[in-house]
Structures are given as C-alpha cells and as structure tokens.
Symmetry: C2
Subunit: 564 residues, 2 copies
C-alpha cells in the first residue's frame, strides 16, 4: 500500500460521509454511553455507523479487486506539491493568497503554496498559531468564553498554567495513526516521533456493570475465554453443523483453544493472561482471584471498552511528536515565516470579486489578494458577513459544533508506573470522565502528566459548564474510583480545556446536520476556497485538515496555472 | 498491586515449573509450528502448558481472595537490598565473593552485594560483559563456535559488524514487560526507556494456510467477525439456551456487535477495522477486497499468530532502553566497577571448603573468597570440575540448552515506514524465520534495522548451522514472501547470532528435562550459590536473572549476618 499516506489530492466528488471521524479523536467505538448525542458513530459503534451510511449511500465503495497487500497499483497518484518550476514550464506567476485561520489546515495551505512561491498571508484571530493543536506548558494561559446560555458557572475564566519544566499537555489532538498523512508531514518537517501508547493491557476498565476496576488484561482474558467456551461447546453440540464442515469445525476449535486459552474440555477456567496477584519470578507466582462467572462477565458490558482500539484510526501502535503535538504546527509556522502570519487579526468580512478577494480585519485596513482560503471552523465562518452567497452560508450553518474536554493533572511522582505498573495507555470507563490517559513520555521521570478526563458530548458539556477548580474536584472524585486515594495526592498543577468555550474555535469538531451542502463547500465560492478537517472523512483528526489543505492547494494552483 | 515489581526475595520452596518462560522471549504462544521440540508451552500454547503443569502439580496456586486491583496487602514484602548499616546493627563485616559470569544475574549480584560493601570479583570467560544481553553495533565482531557434530557449514566464523552510526541490534533480549523487575533496575540505574512496539495492526501475518501476506488488522477483523457471527447465530438459534439466561443472551449479543463489528442480522460482512485500499481523506476511501469466506478464514490457521501478544509476558505495551538493551548491563557494570570485573577469565575448577571457595582460572593463579555465586549457564557449569557433589552435577546436567537465532538487517531507507506504513512491531509467520521485527526506534531516520528472523528450536538450529552469508540469503528469500523485491534492496549491512554457537553461552536458554534437581540448585552447595534465569519461572527473561540475583544476594547476606 505504497500510497496509503498520500490519498488523492483532488476531491472525488463523492458525497460527504456525515458521521465518520466526528468522534475520531475520542475513539469511534470508544465513547462513553452518555455521548449519544454526538452521532451515530459514537452511539452505535462502527457497525451502526456503516449501516447508517449504507442507507444514505455514503459507505465507502467496496472494491472486489484482489487485495494489494504490498504496493498496490490501484492506489491514486501521490500528492504533488506546487513548485516554482511549474510556472517556468507553463507561464504565469504565483498568486497572492489570504489564508484565514492559522490552524493545521491554514498553516498547511500556506506551507504548501509557499513551495511554489505564492505570497501567502495568514490571518489568525487568536494570539497563537495551531488552532485546536494546542499543547499547554508552564507559563501558558487558557482563556474560556462565557457560556452563551448563562448556564456556566463562570462568565469566562482564565487559567494560568503552572506545569513544571518538561511537562506538557496535549489539550487537543494527541495521537497519530500510522497510515495518516500527518506522519508524512512529521517526516518532511523533521519533527521527531515516539510511540503513543493507546491501549495498555495493564490499565483498567470500569463499567457500570462492574463492582470495581479490573485490569484490561483480566477483563479481556475472561471475555475471550467465555466466548471461546460458548462457541466451542456450541460447535461440539452440533449447533453449527449446517454452517461448518468437519474441517472447519476442527480449525475453529483450534483457533478457539489459542484465542480463549481454553483446554481440551473447552471450559474456560482462567489462565496466565489474566495476570497474577504475585508475579512469577523465583517462585511460580500466585494467580488472581477466582474467575468470575459467565453471567458476571457478560454483565460487565465490556463490548465498548475492550474494542476501543480496534478501529482503523485507533489501532496500536499510534505516534506522537516528541515534546508535544504542537511541534507540527510550530514547524509549519516556521516554514511559512513569522512575517506572513498575523495573529490577533479577526476577520469581519469576506468579499469575493471577479479579480480578487477583500478581507476586512477588526481594527485594521482591509486586505486584498488574488485568492483566499478560509480555514476557519465552519460554524464561525457562517457568522462572518460577506458575499459568498446564501447557499454557502446555509451549507456552513449545517455544521454543528460538538463539545469535548480534557484535563491535565501533573503529579509529583509517577505512581501509575511505580505502584500500578501502568506505563502509558488509557483506562476506559463508563464514568463521566470517559478515558484516563497515562503519559507516553518521560517514563520514570520525577513528574508526569495524567489526562484526568477526555470526554465528549453531554459529559464534556457538563464539565465545560464548570469553573476549572470544580472540574478538577469532580474529575478527582471519579479517578479515585479507579486509583484510590493516591489519585488526589501529590498533585502539583492542573489545567483543563473545554473546546466549546475556546475563543475563535467554539467546538471540538463538527457534525453535519445535513450533508447536502458539503459538496458545495468542497468547491470554491468565487475566489474563496474552504479548507479544514470538517470537509473530509477525517473530521477531528489533523490528517483531515492536512488532506483538505492538499486538495485546496492543488486546485488553487491548477487554476492559477490555467489562468496564466 | 504495589509490589508487582518486587516479588519475594527468597525462594518459596515451591517446585520449579519446568516449562514456563522457556520460550518466553519468543512468545509463549508465539512460536512457529516447527518448534515443537522446545517444549509443551511452545507446542500447545499456554493452555496446554497449564494443563501439563496441572498434571505435574506445578501450576501457580489459585488464590480465591478478593482481587486486590490497587494496592494489595497480600503481596509479599518488597526486596530489601543489603546495606552497610546492616552490619553496624548486627556486627560482622561484608564478605568477599567471587561471582562467576558477568551476565545479567552475575552483574546484578555484584551490584546488589556492593551496596553493603561486599568485596566482589566478577570472573567472565568472554571479553565482554552482558552475556546474552548483547547489543551489536558497527565495529563489533561476532564469533561463533564450530558445531560439535560437524553438521555446520563453518568450522567457526567471525562476522565483523558494519552497521552505521546510531544503528544497533539487540541480538539477545529486546523487550521488557511492564510488570518485570527489569524496569525497576532501569529506574534505579537511570537507564532511559522508550516503548517497544510488540504488536502492530499494520504488520502482516503469513501462515501456511494463506495465499499471501495479510495485514494483522485485516486477519483479526475477519476472525473476530466470523467468531461473533457464529456465536450470535448459535445464540439466536437457541443452541445456548441451557447456558444463557435471556439477559445473558442479550448482553452476549451486545458484546458481539462491538467485538465482531456485526450488524443486526448478525452476519459478518467486513468493516473499517479491516483497513482500506485507499485511505479515507477528502474522499471516503476505498475498502479492501472482498471479505474471505468463513472457510477461508478458518483455514488460515490464525490462532497462534493473532494471540502472539496475548500472554502476560508479551502484552502491549512493552519497553526497551533507549539506545540498546545493553544499557542495562553497562549501567550495572559501571556500578560494580571495572576493577572488579575480570573478562577473559575462564573458570576451570570450583572448590568449596568449610572456610571459603577456591576458583581456578585458565592461565592464572587460583582465586579465593569467602563465598561464590555461580551465575553461568547451567549446562556449562555442569562441565566445570570441582567438589560441588554428584547430585549438584546431575541437577545441572538436567538443563538442556535450546537454540535461538536472530538476524539484523540494516537498510539504507525505511521502506517499511514510507511504503508499507508499518512503524515497529512484528510480522508473524509460519515460515522458518518466525517473526520479522520492525524497529521501535529511529522512526523516519535515514537507516533502520529490521530483525530478519527471530526463531527458535529446529528453525534456529537450521539457520545456526549455516554461515552468515547463507543465513542472510535464506532469510531474504523468506522475507520477500512478505515484502517483495524491496526486501533484498538497499541493504547496507547485516549480522546474525546463533545462540547455541556463542562461546561461553552455547544456548539461548534452557529447558529442564527433569525439574527434580532444581530445588537443590536453589540452595547453596556449601559456599557456592547459583543464580540465573534458569532457576526461576522467568527463564529466558532478564527479569528471571534479576529476581534470582535478588534471592541469592538476600540469602547470602543473611548468612553472613548470622555468622557474624
């Protein structure tokens, strides 16, 4: 799959898939039960999502060609960035471009166009670049908007982050799948990578069906064991004879003996995969307690928590830039150049004319250029006056922003490593904190940062409506259900982000209430192009923003070359 | 589980479990089918191993106390290293100790005894420390013994390693589980850690039942999908009504809908977990080819390859020292001190007397001390003359060394990352190469080192009998079955190790042909103690050597204090 990382640069004209990826960064199959409102993918898992997509005619096309495991000539042509030499060959000259928004999509557009000498100016409303790719460190501040409906406790608050030297908190995107184009940008930009531990057999699960937390490895061993026992016994009893040949049955039983660690009697009675109470060493170790009954295991409701890293976006291993996710946006901004990026520049009007674009900026003179790429969140773009047309405005208004929140907890000792023997990964819960993440960097260091919650939907709205101290208190109370008293001890600092309350962002990502207008936004409105994860099938992933940027840059460049 | 990393320092007197861990570093459930000779664990997976252990009365004790998920007062007391102050309190003085062997066990003994001021001298037959913890770099040489039976092609050969700057090859142990005491030594010694990617959803599996390689994610999705379909349909059909209540059945079906990504009809028809032919991006992507039939999936024989990282020793995530596994032995040696370690000192006789020990060394005067710790491989120790007794000799002779081999392939470009989108992890095969490992360090670098084979048993004997160039040719031919032509291209350098042919080691690890004598060796023979992974339930793991060292050091120290 030589070109896995380089999907087609141009739009394929297919209708937008409305639900895919909208919960991607919080796991397609990994949301809390409470997050029903955020979409089909969240509520029903990928199976339900695909079913719904099939109804809408939006499922990926099924190709019955032989599987090209390696290479794969059927893959689309790789992305070809604009180059100065393109003009030498075809005439014309690079155009001037106003890029609205210095998030991942906007920065990538300016970076790619810059390769061919386009004169880009990036306008960013906030005082920093990166958008949702936000890495917090000591000395940073987090400012939040008051809640529009007055339901929030705070009329807008400011947190001053006091994490120690070397501690960072990826408050936005935190992980990259192997196949995503984000890794190609890391390679190209020289951003060093390390493994992000997404799943950890030693972490815990805690569902409503459980009396207390259980290690992932134990829950998994018991679930797989009983599944294997049930299926083996059904096969033994002849229940599957209509479906299985004698050879099939033999192979099935062989598979189940490995998969479920069941013995010749096909009964599941535990085994070393569950873990040990006392580890093997000089002695043989001591097993964990008695294996729970089949009914107990089934009532734990493990389906979601044990498949959280099964999806294509979430499968292990995943990766992170060394030192913080913002290494990517900082590298992009460095390439674009400080002089071309104007922070603190809020766009108030966008006008496209036959010969160019005019963009009004709060507190300054209007800016003009030959083209514009609007890489703002669509729900904010929808509010900006201009002449892009009623249909464009309606299409933008169909993007419904969703809530997500994260809390970073800096501890003065890494108790999860030394006491719980959990090095990275996530504890999955049915609690309102969603996931608890342990750090994948700084192992054995003196300090460490745990993500005390990463939640979405109603849970994120509930936490988002609180002041930071109240978020902290609530999250610590929940975390103690997993880790006991030590979860509230040795805490040095904390910071939280409620994405729906972030100025100039106002949402974690969007859900399309109607996909009808998306196709319109995938084309330029006059001389204004649109870019962002929200225009792709990778909503909520940096890869979506990057893929969108590549598409827009390619189209804009081809237009400039054609008009030459 | 506060003390998971600190198992009991003393032996618990329980009989040795003969099969556990003997294939540990090549995965308890993860050996090639051809490795039948290496033991029950290898041939039948953990299930068979446990069954056999039950017969022998050797299975871990099942404790029915409530599961202490966090903390755990039932855990044994933590290891307490000898301290100088122990003598101040109880009288006496640190003894002199001859440590035989500068592998992990020997170095750890000298390091721990040194904390209390013992005068240790470590005698090492080879010209380097570390034993099987061998990390090869450019400039190193690999010398191999001629094969005893004359079956080898080479009468002993020397490889000069020409890897580039920054490339290393962990030819021995390569990974550490979270619960292992090895991590505690890394913390104590300041050895920085990073994640070792043990399993990778993007890597491949290739079994005898497959026409060609398939991504792990695809094979897993299909297997889990059909298992779920079969079990859901059996439940639908009432086949499990005797076992399941109505509530159980409903919960089972909910679990299976997540686990197998099956829809309401309970049929498995594929899904995004299989992966994509064209990745989602701006467009929805294109699915892989048609889902294979149930019979096809079952005939792939996936049981072993899909459970390779299910075991307690192998579960994700695992860890490695930054820069090479030998960072641990180098740190231990630094603590012990160069002056106390005599390389090139082959022991030729061991004599215990009422007042001390005398050890003869080839080409030098005999050495005397109050105590001795013999931390050599047992099959080599069995050959050394002395007065330790016929029963000790017989017990040592019951340790049967096993074969294992590894090949490091340094490439001039990281095609597995840029073309196959595989970042670390292993491809599991039924081929004679066993596993192919992709590097977990140096992502996106210019060079990279792939482990072209890590095999055991008959496969390791077959490769071990070849000269290095022939090993290389054979392994490249096998690897091309996975990766095609590029597997043989851009190769800069290579090195292989056949552990059964390593001087002064002569085996990867041991299997006990009879466990009867192990208990004897867990006690001192006069003033001579025995230490090594071979005396623990963690054979083949550095953790076994370290746990054994802690036990011996504790016992020796208590004896010295008592005799004071």
């Amino acid at each position: 799959m030589a070109d896995e990382g380089s999907p087609p640069p141009g739009g394929d004209g297919s209708p937008h898939r409305p639900t895919r990826g909208e919960d991607a960064s919080s796991r397609l199959n990994g949301l809390t039960r409470r997050s029903l409102l955020v979409g089909i993918g969240a509520a029903g898992g990928a199976g339900a999502m695909y079913a719904a997509m099939g109804v809408l005619g939006l499922a990926p096309s099924r190709d019955t060609a032989p599987l090209p495991v390696v290479g794969g000539s059927a893959a689309p042509p790789p992305y070809a960035p604009p180059q100065r030499s393109d003009f030498a060959l075809r005439g014309g000259r690079p155009a001037s471009v106003l890029v609205l928004g210095a998030g991942v999509a906007g920065l990538a557009c300016a970076y790619e166009l810059g390769k061919a000498g386009y004169e880009c100016t990036v306008l960013e409303a906030s005082d920093r670049v990166g958008g949702r790719s936000l890495t917090l460190r000591g000395g940073d501040t987090v400012t939040e908007l008051p809640l529009g409906d007055g339901a929030g406790e705070a009329a807008g608050g400011v947190q001053r982050v006091t994490f120690g030297e070397g501690t960072y908190f990826n408050a936005g995107p935190a992980r990259i799948a192997q196949w995503m184009v984000t890794l190609d940008y890391c390679r190209e930009l020289g951003v060093p990578l390390e493994v992000f531990v997404n799943g950890n057999s030693a972490a815990y699960v805690l569902t409503d069906g459980m009396k207390g937390p259980v290690r992932v490895r134990t829950a998994r061993a018991d679930a797989y064991g009983y599944i294997s026992e049930l299926l083996a016994k059904a096969a033994d009893g002849g229940a599957l004879d209509a479906r299985l040949t004698a050879a099939d049955k033999e192979r099935l039983l062989d598979f189940l003996s490995h998969f479920g660690e069941i013995g010749p009697s096909h009964a599941y009675t535990g085994g070393e995969r569950r873990g040990f109470r006392v580890n093997p060493g000089v002695g043989p170790g001591a097993e964990l307690g008695a294996v729970p009954s089949l009914t107990e295991v089934l009532s734990q409701g493990l389906g979601r928590v044990l498949t959280m890293d099964a999806g294509y976006e979430q499968a292990m291993p995943m990766f992170q830039p060394v030192g913080g996710m913002d290494a990517i946006v900082r590298a992009l901004a460095r390439q674009v150049g400080d002089a071309r990026i104007r922070t603190g520049s809020r766009v108030t009007e966008i006008t496209t004319t036959p010969g160019g674009v005019e963009v009004a900026v709060e507190g300054g003179p209007p800016l003009r250029a030959q083209y514009c790429v609007a890489a703002l969140p669509p729900h904010l773009l929808a509010r900006i006056p201009g002449n892009l047309g009623a249909d464009v405005k309606a299409a933008l208004a169909a993007a419904s922003p969703l809530a997500a929140g994260k809390l970073g907890l800096e501890y003065g000792r890494r108790w999860w490593e030394t006491e719980d023997r959990v090095y990275g990964g996530a504890t999955e819960t049915d609690l309102d904190v969603g996931h608890i993440w342990y750090p994948s960097y700084g192992f054995h260091g003196r300090r460490g940062l745990v993500v005390g919650y990463y939640n979405t939907g109603a849970d994120a709205e509930a936490y988002g409506a609180l002041t930071h101290p109240r978020r902290l208190r609530r999250a610590l109370a929940q975390g103690r259900k997993i880790h006991g008293r030590k979860y509230g001890e040795d805490l040095l600092a904390s910071a939280s982000v409620s994405w729906q309350r972030q100025p100039h962002i106002e949402g974690a990502w969007v859900r399309w209430t109607s996909p009808a207008g998306v196709r319109l936004l995938q084309r330029p409105a006059g001389r204004v192009y649109f870019a962002g994860d929200w225009l792709t099938h990778l909503i909520a992933w940096q890869a979506g923003a990057l893929e969108s940027a590549r598409k827009v840059v390619t189209e804009l460049h081809h237009r400039v070359l054609k008009e030459a």
